[in-house]
Amino acid sequence: MPLVLNEEQEMLKSSAAGFLAEKAPVSALRKLRDDRDAAGFSRALWEEMSEMGWAGIAIPEAYGGLEYGYVGLGLILEEMGRQLSVSPLQSSVMVGASLINIGGSEAHKRTLLPAVAEGKLLITLALQEGLHHAPEKTALKAIASGDNFILTGKKVLVMDAHVADKIVVAARTSGNAGDAEGISLFLLDAKTEGLSRERVIMVDSRNSGNVVLDNVSVSKADLIGDLNGGMAILEQVLDIANACLSAELLGLSLQAYEATIEYLKQRSQFGVLIGSFQALQHRAADMFAELELCKSMVLASLQAIDNGEDNVSLMAAATKAKLCEVAERVTNEAVQMHGGIGMTDEFDMGFYMKRARVAQQTFGGYSYQLDRFASLNGF
């Protein structure tokens, strides 16, 4: 498959760009934050997005989706990154639907995916327990009890925890924290007794939260995938999530970068445009090169997923590592090159820097991904 967007994809990208610039620009995020909005995103907007098919963009047609693949989802996320648009696309489509589609039974798919595709059901994943992403370190215990399992423990950084309808919880059913084997995935209703949710106000003003499970009872029928076999599903879903988050990071980096280049062309200091300073020019040109590499990696890894290639994990790890590195650098340089104004809350650049760091850390940041990339390469 050529490493280039086809006409349909180009159209999707430009229509998403237009829609988001109008309906979900940075000012919308700012308003959600300043209003301390209860949902943290606009439900009306999510309805519009769903009507356009975005909630089902990567879901197979058989289950009510558009089946545009993850290249399609990535294009939308890239544009959302540019505008810092907020929606449950990451929690419920990028992760939730992918989980069900990869690991769920036929019954799960039939009942859940069409509702997700319509935007009427939000499914999220509760995975991380400690300070850092480390799926194999899952320790939250699920103890068998008759036909049920009893779950107790705490999860953090659960996207849209406070508004999700269903939560897939990764729990340990055998072995010890650190073993890849012995992790199982349970589909819980968010209103299940014993499950409590706490919204956390994050640095990026988004909607991650904590989920506490206190003797929650789940039926074996609510297992996603095989007992003890959760890791294989998680790996596939996490590869998808990291490639998609890389697309979002690409969009926000491009936006921050382009705004900075524009600023260099307008701002004067010492009687000349600061864009005429060669030291800034060279830093800008070098970042341009890095961003071109990022574009190639994002597209290549999303295509690898859609084509079912056998190097998806390696590509996803490489892409996320690269995007973490470049997004961090570009957002830092954007603030530095803007000078004092870049430090003010009134100006938008801070939002880009904040979102970048959270998206970087989500499902493993630079150090996690570079280590994984090296290990997958056998060294």
Binding site: H132, V200, I201, L280, E328, M343, D345, G350
Partner: protein, 389 residues
């Protein structure tokens, strides 16, 4: 030097007796700092006690002459006081622009009347000072300032505005660069004025930063009358005072790179753990090792420059790197602090996230390489003045 040994012993026992236990804890953030002023705020009554006790001995400003409220210590005694305070972990009793910036400038450029009027009040924490330097749109090009001071009978009429005025919403007085002549080069015609922030025509608007805090303000002057005796130094020649203070400021800010009581790598080991004796995150380990190495090398360089100065070699060229290197190092440290603390560092508020301590400290650090002369300006200065390029 038996006298110095005696001084050390006396100092230590006085500190042990007089420094309250609560004032021997590390400061958590800016709210633990004591700034004094007409309407001082004390988070804890011991802060007031400690400030007053130290002020009574002149030790809020140990090296200032006694007649101006200082401690009259020579550099050897001052070093001993610093060392003993550090070994007992005593907090600084009083901080702010008055002590660190205006005071030294007054001692150098002020008239006797100005010294007697202002220095004791700074030393006692009676007056909180702020600095009026940067202007909207001027940025790094400080000398292009436009705030106008017209010479009238016995006063200057000041109009214009300043930005990035640190703590202007709490300050009692301001030291301020204004333009008294527009006809020559941009470095000529700048004057240095001191005036009361309660003067009619002064208004202040805090600037909300990306860290969610407002340490800086915009400050507006609308027909503010400043008595002529409040001019410090010569009229139109204030740029030399400005440069003197900029150097001072850079040395202060470069200190951001120092002073963490616990080594960064110890925090990392607690947060991440070891595997086969090495930090369990092999990539982060590398970055932390580089950071620790540079923190060590930077500290040794400050020590070396200090020792060279003491041995009479003057302030060497190495001091020109402090602002640049120290602030860049601190930014790197804060980025790694985010990585090390992971989920905890993503929080913005709430008790579980210490009110967003990590994320806000990280965001605030981004300003270090902008305020007080950007890193780019520092590199220009090194290239031109030190390297002769």
């Amino acid at each position: 030097m038996p006298d110095l040994e005696q001084f050390r012993a006396d100092t230590r026992s006085w500190l042990e007796e007089n420094c309250p236990e609560t004032m021997r804890q590390p400061m958590m953030d800016e709210s633990d700092m004591v700034g004094g002023g007409r309407k001082p705020t004390f988070k804890h009554p011991d802060q007031k006690l400690w400030m007053e006790r130290m002020a009574a001995k002149g030790w809020t400003v140990p090296t200032w002459p006694k007649q101006y409220g200082g401690g009259g210590l020579d550099k050897h005694e001052a070093k001993i006081l610093r060392e003993e305070m550090s070994s007992l972990q005593c907090r600084a009793p009083l901080q702010g622009m008055g002590i660190s910036m205006l005071g030294p400038a007054l001692l150098e450029y002020g008239s006797e009347a100005q010294k007697l009027q202002h220095l004791p009040k700074i030393a006692n924490g009676d007056i909180w000072w702020c600095q009026g330097y940067s202007e909207p749109g001027a940025g790094s090009d400080l000398a292009s300032l436009q705030t106008k001071a017209e010479e009238k009978d016995d006063y200057f009429l000041v109009n214009g505005s300043k930005v990035w005025t640190s703590g202007a919403d709490k300050a009692d007085w301001i030291f301020c660069l204004v333009r008294t002549d527009n006809s020559g080069s941009k470095h000529h015609g700048i004057s240095f004025l001191l005036f009361d922030m309660t003067s009619p025509g002064v208004s202040v608007k805090p600037i909300l930063l990306i860290s969610g805090r407002s340490p800086f303000c915009e400050t507006f002057f609308d027909d503010v009358k400043v008595p002529k005796e409040n001019l410090m130094g010569e009229q139109d020649k204030g740029w030399s005072i400005a440069k003197y203070l900029l150097t001072h400021e850079r040395e202060m800010i470069s200190g951001f790179g120092r002073g963490a009581s616990k080594k960064f790598c110890e925090t990392a080991v607690e947060a991440i753990g070891l595997e086969h004796g090495r930090l369990a995150d092999p990539v982060l380990r590398n970055d932390i090792a580089k950071l620790e190495l540079n923190i060590l090398a930077f500290a040794k360089t400050m020590e070396r420059v200090g020792d060279e100065t003491k041995s009479g070699k003057g302030l060497g060229a190495a001091s020109s790197i402090f602002k640049y290197y120290g602030t860049e190092l601190n930014k790197t440290r804060c980025e790694l602090m985010i990585d090390v603390n992971g989920e905890q560092a993503m929080g913005w508020e709430g008790d579980n996230y210490a009110g967003g301590h990590f994320s806000r400290t990280w965001l605030r650090s981004k300003g270090n390489s902008i305020e007080g002369g950007t890193s780019e300006v520092q590199l220009n200065i090194i290239a031109k003045r030190v390297l002769g390029l």
